[in-house]
Symmetry: C2
Subunit: 234 residues, 2 copies
């Protein structure tokens, strides 16, 4: 019985990480990696444009998946819920391989160049979410502004949850961490949880009241807000 060899791309990633952990990232060359993986330099550069890219081998695929997922989303999807689900695709990529993700997290914290590389990847995810939201909010007041703000909030929430999981060495529940964080963003930005800034706010009254408040006080507050009793107006 023969054990199948891992695909060359996986072998290169495995060799690279073994060396990064043993010698450090800066001290490892592409020549070292290809020697350990038993392939030529040209094979390395067929899969990875640079040494940095081998640290993040799955982001291009994940970005493509995210763009495709958002492209499939029609008007039947709530736009904020849709971008939250798109962010969950990134989490899934990390959670599929906890050991690798935790090792990379430690490596990225130590190497400023990798941190910068990661920021540019995060920025591309954020742009993908923002562009989807800009399409969904097209023609609405402050459409691009709201798109940019919500995309940034979703990315920040996702990364907060993801980092909690990575700091737990992959021991905590990744999905629960990220779901909790994204739920806060959805509560904040979904119209049913408050007034939609895209609607004419002049037409809407928002009243926040303690659950135990007596009804007469609630009515009084509404009347005070409106400036006149609406049942006499109609």
């Amino acid at each position: 019985m023969t054990v199948p060899k891992p695909p060359m791309r996986d072998a290169l990633v495995a060799a690279a990480f073994r060396l990064f952990l043993e010698r450090g990232y800066e001290q490892t060359t592409v020549d070292d990696i290809v020697a350990l993986a038993g392939v030529g330099r040209r094979s390395f550069f067929r899969y990875f444009p640079s040494k940095e890219d081998v640290v993040f081998p799955d982001h291009e695929r994940c970005l493509a998946d995210m763009t495709e997922f958002l492209g499939r989303g029609g008007d039947e999807h709530d736009p904020v819920a849709r971008v939250c689900d798109a962010a969950r695709l990134v989490l899934r990529m990390y959670a599929e391989n906890p050991t690798f993700s935790v090792q990379r997290y430690r490596l990225t914290k130590k190497v400023p160049g990798l941190r910068t590389y990661e920021l540019s990847v995060v920025w591309r995810y954020e742009r993908a979410l923002a562009e989807y939201l800009r399409r969904r909010f097209a023609g609405q007041p402050d459409g691009t502004l709201r798109a940019d703000v919500i995309a940034a909030a979703v990315v920040a929430a996702h990364n907060n949850g993801l980092r909690s999981w990575l700091r737990s060495d992959g021991e905590s529940d990744a999905s629960a961490e990220v779901d909790h964080a994204l739920a806060l963003v959805q509560r904040t930005f979904t119209p049913s949880a408050g007034p939609d800034p895209a609607e004419d706010v002049e037409d809407v009254v928002v009243l926040v009241s303690r659950r135990g408040a007596p009804m007469w006080r609630v009515v009084q507050e509404i009347e005070a807000t409106l400036g006149h009793p609406p049942d006499r107006q109609n």
Copy 2:
């Protein structure tokens, strides 16, 4: 009468930008810059660690100003308003020199390395805002999560307004653009504009109603939401 020479640091920035615009960023070396400015290489590196740093000569000072400004903020300041004001320090830096800011914006769009550099600067501003908010929200439920999300939202709103101004070639009103964008974030995250996620939401009823709705319908909706009429409960 003698015209005073500009300080050496300003002369280096001016020489660098003249060459970047004439020849392109990649085609300009540090040697070209120091030759035009009439100083030695060591003078350049005394002010700027690398060629990239001369493109963004004021961010370090601005980051220090922001950190100092946030450090001075006590409990008397609304935390969200304070980070919005901190973001306005960045805008002021750009608006102080519109021609330079617009030139740099065009340059940064063309050179991927500068774009990456800028992302790491933006990330440092965002961390400064988030760290301030984490201190303010310390001990509150989801304090760090809310801090990260609000910091990201403030940066995204600021950058949306800033980019609008830069795309107008500095012709529009920079402060008005950014104030408008930050106002949306303040409305979204300031407790008086809606329920505070840090409070026990179980205790609060939010009702959104059309201004023209008759009072009996408003009361009916509140009762339906509560599951029982609150005036009989108390």
